[in-house]
Amino acid sequence: MAEVATLVRPQRWDAPFGPEMTDGDVEMLLARPEFGDIDRDRFPASTPLDGILRNDTRLVRTQPGDIVLRSGDYGNSAFLILDGDLRVVLAPDLPSRLLGRQQTRKKGFFEALAQLWTNRWVPEVRNVANYTNRGLRAAEKLEDSRVFLQDIPVVLDKHRTAKISAGTLFGELAALGRVPRTASVFSESDALLLEIRWQGLRELRKYAPAWRAQIDESYRDNALNAHLRSTPLFADVDFAVVQDIAKEVLFETYGSFDWHVTYKKERQRGAEQSSGTVICQEGDYPDGVLLIRAGFARVSTRYGSGQRNLTYLGAGDVFGLDELYEGFKSGETKPLQTSLTALGYVDLLRVPAPVLEQHVFPSMKPPKVRLADLAGRLAADDGLFEWAVDERFVNATMAMLIDMDRCVRCDDCVRACASTHGGNPRFIRHGQTFDHWMVANACMHCADPVCMIGCPTGAIHRDTGTGTVVVNDDTCIGCGTCANSCPYENIRLVEINDQSGRPLVDPDHGRPIFKATKCDLCVGNPGGPACVRACPHDALRRVDFRYADPFAEASA
């Protein structure tokens, strides 16, 4: 028999959220009413309450002005105020400058043209003056650095805010639902916060009824009504009825929140990606309509001995409506014609069938396109789409897809990119290939931007005007959190140089200063992405894979 090596099986809490949490800290937390009142016997032996507090939480100390959350950011943790006061900015939101975000300004024609002679031969040149007075509070660990407000009275004067004090939980909806934060929160005084990562929050919601009630109520009050009203299915339903429907809605989550970590590891190993968690099977009888709130799910149908992907659903899409509506009209129960599987992670709302039959179906028009009708396409034409789903490129809103049968490898796209970014290309013309298609290593501006989770300064963010994911070079601290999170390896850390071409190093250790760089779709340049315009053979497009043949128009 072949020899084997042994390894203690990895456990969930091998890597605690806050390694510096002590027994004393846990005891202090358990003495507080938020945790002391919880019935500990409800928790399974494998995930006891004190274990959750020890491993899934960490203590965060903030100073006056420290920004704890920024609206629009993605995050995987919630905060419980243990001591001190914080302020939630209600309206207007803090300006991008104060949040440490990039001020996007479109260049004029001649300013853009000037890059012809202002671009440098030395790579990654930066004006060091941009990094002074940037409102960054340094910390011992790079990832604990914070952006802070330098003049709190002015902020309080210009913005309507609400004070939140000890005992308040905030940020939980974004953490559990993988949706952007809806408001910015900053510290008004010295404060002690308990940051709870989503895994711990999920367990607390599951086993502590008071926590569950608080989180669900908060969601129903703050987000669900608005979400339902923005869904086309309920567009014609009265406000009061929507509120009634909201009371009946069930919350469900499938797949892994940290899918990108597994995905990246599997990809580096060259292994096949997992097919995902099945939510509904073809042939099952639906008991309600599923509304996708966040994440992705694939719609498939049986084909031979496998599953054929028909499409994928993202935030705002609906599953199971066709069958329920047909059943309502015909008076017979119709089984599901397709299956639904979580792609990585998906957050769902289940609206029970009786609610729909009472409030929605009587006045609803039949759906124009049925999901099952997508099976009418030839399976042979679906290769690219199936591959994109398997490789999770469906997350992209702007994947760089290159038709290698047209591409003459002239690198005009790379040069064009460099010409608009100070002489530095922001993508690599290399990547995963399928048949004659290549998805190059360029930021795909994902619908679920996992790169934005955990950025300590909010330097990586969505541009409010265009939705493009951009990195603010001025507040990027080069910690690499975004680059490590990106499942597609499309963010690169570069060593920077000053304007005379000297490498910039930190004075304490002499180590190089890094900055995260990535494609920004030429957000500040006139005319859109230069790479697309520069391709003489129309070989390069920025695509959303939901549109099956991105080159159909060009080849027509």
Partner: protein
């Protein structure tokens, strides 16, 4: 294979119409006992300058000057128009006069290199895509070096294990040459199986001198040689796609200089 897009066909029609109009105008000048060469010459120079703007467009990617693909279509159609205008201007396939012959040589060199480039750009990408996992051109030397190192490691391992130097001598006499740098360039360009046949023949000729344990190493060695053959093919095709421009752009620049000088001389002495 894409030859002409719908927009290209439309542009071609427009170019044909423009040429017909110019031909009628030139004939009218001739009927009025004028010299149509002046009219056709200026038009030809204008078209040539328009063609040269495509290179400028490539340098100015940072400003919105329209899609490069549209410019390329214009460039191709403009090139065809330039050929027709040249013949209308010269009135023959080949001019008389030393300077004009140099101009004609440059003109035909640019036209032929452009036409060859057009074909290369439509044939090579597909062949390259079908040649397995592609390596970026600049990384091919490193990949070749890696294959060579692996081959030499196989030779050393074979000598160590079998105690025989047959495979090492074969490598030294035959395969060392092959692994040194890209080989069979033209065979790869034209898609022949020259490289594969050569490897098969060398392998077959060697096999009779090897024992069973050496043959395992030989198999491993020739697998690496086949991988190198793939790399050579990629190198040849990518080189062709990159370097044909050197037969097109510098002669184009020279042609423009000669054409402008021709214009100056004509305006100074012939009118």
């Amino acid at each position: 294979m894409r030859v002409l897009s719908r927009a290209g066909a439309l542009l071609l029609l427009l170019a044909a119409a423009a040429f017909a109009a110019l031909w009628i105008a030139a004939r009218q000048v001739w009927l009025e006992l004028g010299d149509p060469a002046l009219l056709t010459g200026y038009c030809l120079l204008a078209v040539m300058l328009l063609l040269a703007l495509f290179t400028a467009r490539k340098r100015l990617s940072m400003v919105p000057l329209g899609r490069a693909s549209v410019w390329l279509t214009l460039h191709v159609v403009g090139g065809l128009l330039a050929v027709a205008l040249y013949w209308l201007h010269v009135g023959a396939f080949w001019p008389t006069g030393g300077y004009e012959i140099v101009l004609a040589l440059l003109f035909y060199l640019v036209v032929v290199s452009g036409a060859v480039g057009f074909v290369i750009q439509r044939v090579c990408p597909t062949r390259l895509t079908r040649s397995g996992e592609e390596v970026i051109y600049e990384r091919i030397p490193a990949e070749l070096s890696r294959l060579r190192d692996r081959a030499e490691a196989v030779i050393l391992a074979c000598a160590e294990k079998s105690g025989s130097d047959t495979l090492a001598r074969h490598y030294d006499e035959v395969l060392h040459w092959y692994f040194q740098k890209p080989r069979f360039f033209f065979g790869n360009v034209f898609g022949s199986l020259q490289s594969k046949h050569w490897l098969e023949n060398q392998s077959r000729a060697l096999a009779r001198y090897l024992n069973a344990s050496e043959r395992d190493f030989q198999r491993e060695l020739y697998e690496l040689a086949e991988a190198k053959s793939e790399m050579d093919s990629q190198y040849a095709l990518q080189s062709l796609m990159k370097w044909w421009l050197f037969c097109h752009v510098p002669p184009s620049a020279a042609l423009l200089v000669f054409a402008v000088w021709h214009l100056i001389v004509v305006n100074l002495y012939a009118i």
